[in-house]
Symmetry: D2
Subunit: 310 residues, 4 copies
């Protein structure tokens, strides 16, 4: 089967799942999305593109943004970031404060909320130097527009506001990390940038393109520009596999077998090194907070192609 | 020995301790206090007053305020408060978020910071009803002025500001509790009231008088006014004994044997039911966060008088 | 009302409670006891004795034995015991291994199972010195016979065996503490002694007498023999109040207001310093593992007499 | 470079590391091994073998045995094993009881000690059915002899005894799991089998051969016998990557990028799907309990070959 046929088969198989699972409703604005949406896009290293369903419809990337803020922080600070964040799976719920308390404010990895707040703080310190302009939001947005080759990508300000006004637990996290001295900027400023990053709206097609450098040793295939070094691309993929899908990384690796990063908006971005980048979107989530139909779609993809990292 | 002689002996014995221990420096404003201060005041149920040292100097009552906000909340809501707060020792550090996470936002008792924030939220809901005036600060202040019979008692606004600008952990606590739905008001408003209550400045003499109703079955001895019911006074004293001195209630009960409530400003208020109310102040703290010389002074008091609850 | 009348009123009031709560069934042998039993005995410092119901029927003292093994260890080692055990409330379930792990094998207090295993280990080291006879079981038994003035007190070997063969969690605890180096003897030997101590069978009348030295400044009232020093008696009572009734010490202090020690056999021993020792027994337990009717009986006792430590 | 040259370069580069790190000394018998040993063996899917250093010297495989007991349990019980064990990284120290307590006796994955005890219990139930012979030890030994094509492989009974007599924490673990009902056999019997499995002595060459089926879709390359199904082989490799190297799976994936399983004896077995199986041995461990020089050797292997799963 070629990718077109595989996408068709996946699309058929996931239909019964589109009414299962729950849309994340703790961000009120996300609860408005029609919950049976499904889109999927594959981009190969050779530049071929395949897609099905609502792959050209924008959705809230939410935690998938953590993949790109991490990449940006590695560009800006290199290995120095590991002095302020760990790179081990958390083994607990994705927003747990317990682990932070026992480990003195050092988040376990950059893909839990606590870690992404520290990553955002790093970007803020570069983007908004003392006395300089305040352009932290744009720094991340511009990076995503470039990776996805789409200048139309923007924030969904309703989502950002919605999350800001109800995100008590993230406010708690940021202040807790600050109390350990692991934020350089004020918590309110870090939170504002963080909620904006999460609110970015993109399509499956955009995200698959934006992730292609990870399948291509850190370079953009269309112009050979180096986004990050080859070993850094390897590092990020290892982090995706061990920490990218909340408290179900073992289950995701077991079933899918690809490095992936999910978001509560229902998107999952995954890559097969040397082969392809893939993004799937379906809003209803399983009990671990990953897209229910999306996880199944990726499991089918590696089963039908016989391709996984294992 | 009578109380005068006992106070003299205590004063002599604690002198070598006044240079030991550490002043709480996480609230910058508190770090300015001369650290070798020592004051102690005893008020008996019969109305006699004994004092020594700097017993008439104001200090920041800090967590001792939790005793009075609890009393106020019991007056306002009675036993209903136990639906939102526990009454068991925490067994962990006084501002731990771990316990809150495992117990879904219900603080273990009203004397840890988390519990006092919920108590403050209760008072706010009464003092600042929707559409009404905002007089939460004054409600607590007026209550303390009345109990201490001193209209001069006020906030130390420098301390309140100092704590507000560095109290990231308390901000984290309030937002975390809010994320579990156990605050009715916005975290910022609750925190503002909480920091004001902690900043109230009183003397040993003021505090001993303000606590006398607890030694007197809930009534003010000078006019027989009922502040709280006799069984509520018993309840509060049992909470002081089991939860009043941070993570060293066992040690405090073991050494002192009186219900007490301490604050990081260096004050400790204790009562012997039917006999007396006593307040001691010395800014340097032991490793558990209680006044080092103050704890020793109370231990000497129960040893020299032979009076304790055990 | 005198004590006779009070006991009659208590007896009447608790009748409806005797069918509520659950008998501890994790020790199979305990599940055979008729669950509606109720007995209560009061011994005053002056030597008067009052009792009602099945106060002369033997039951398994279980964790109440921890009170007497602690007393024995304090006689043998004095304050040195605090190098191997804490004296703070645990704040978690009574047999939690979590706390032990975070605190490196030092149990929080002598009344949780972990602490009692360390206390038992101390007694073993004295009772069974290298090369000497093995008389650890008898050491504790003799001590209880003397305190209760009853040479008939003995082990219930069926209970000891029953607990030994199903006590996996206690076996885990002992081996865990040993792994931290905080047992001197082999875990199997410590467990054997511990299960024997818990299996001792006594009556309410026996236990009230055995606890009388705690109400009498450490001395046996009938011959003025010093069991422990006055300040040690004070210490033990403070530990009872802050740690004696599992994870509900706050609630017990709040409702009853007396230092007490409970066991899963349904017994509770409490003392009012200078006044009396009291033991109540009823097998059905509340959700915290304390006798349901027994806790209510003690609450009524302090309410009807108006006597508590607060 | 071919594998021979790569092994020579690795051998040269790790020499300075052979005096760093600490030999595991909690198993007394392991402390006797000369600590500067280093061996490494690669077996390709095509049947080529390359080795260097002490690759033909036996060492204690310790936790690497967990890989083979898991494989055996999956053969015996299939997916049913996931009802009694999770498949997520633990996020805490490898022998933590805390996680077990919070998750009611269900170990997080089969590669932590708790999980391996449950796996051993499963094998016991099959190998030693009621009324049948007791051949649990031999079941695992025979399986390893077959996979490694070496009938000489055996237990090191001194190591097994040494671990048995000092393994208090594992005894605690087994009894704790039993207290939750998640062992079918008595803890002593499970522990005896577990300690025997850990004590098996093999060479790098043996282990590389024994792991080759994992690089070969579950089949032995020399006779095409199916050891486990292809998707089960994929599952096991995903578990190795996310859970195979104690509390440093993130770091190991980041640096090495291969599914691996380590043991405190200093061995690490890793596989590159479709390419090779590799085993390295050096007794000194890094702070995470993995062979210090061994981890570096594997990192060099993936760097020099440019081959990893990412």
């Amino acid at each position: 089967m070629n990718y077109s046929e595989i996408l068709k088969e996946i699309y058929a198989e996931v239909q019964p799942l589109l009414t299962q699972g729950q849309v994340a409703d703790y961000i009120p604005e996300l609860a408005h999305i029609p919950p049976t949406k499904f889109g999927m896009a594959i981009l190969t290293s050779e530049g071929e593109q395949f897609q099905i369903g609502e792959a050209s419809e924008k959705f809230s990337i939410q935690s998938i943004s953590k993949l790109f803020t991490l990449t940006l922080a590695m560009r800006l600070e290199g290995d120095a970031i590991w002095q302020r964040i760990g790179r081990e799976p958390s083994g607990t719920a994705f927003n747990s404060l317990v682990q932070l308390e026992y480990e003195n404010g050092i988040p376990r990895n950059p893909f839990i909320n606590a870690g992404a707040l520290v990553v955002t703080d790093m970007i803020l310190s570069h983007a908004c130097p003392p006395g300089g302009l305040d352009n932290a939001h744009e720094t991340v947005l511009d990076f995503l527009r470039k990776l996805a080759q789409n200048a139309e990508i923007g924030f969904d300000l309703d989502v950002a506001r919605s999350e800001r006004s109800t995100g008590y637990r993230n406010i708690a996290l940021a202040n807790f990390i600050k109390s350990f001295g692991n934020l350089r900027n004020e918590p309110d400023k870090v939170l504002d940038a963080y909620f904006h990053h999460c609110s970015i709206a993109m399509t499956c097609s955009d995200l698959a393109r934006a992730g292609l450098f990870l399948a291509n040793k850190g370079r953009l295939p269309w112009n050979d520009e180096e986004i990050i070094k080859p070993n850094q691309a390897k590092y990020i993929k290892s982090l995706m596999l061990t920490c990218g899908t909340y408290d179900s990384v073992g289950d995701f690796a077991y079933r899918v077998g690809l490095p992936g990063k999910s978001g509560v908006g229902g998107g999952i971005l995954a890559v097969m090194p040397g082969e392809f980048s893939v993004c799937v979107w379906s809003p209803r989530l399983n009990e671990n907070g990953n897209s229910l139909a999306g996880t199944k779609a990726l499991e089918l993809l590696t089963t039908l192609t016989g391709i996984s990292v294992f």
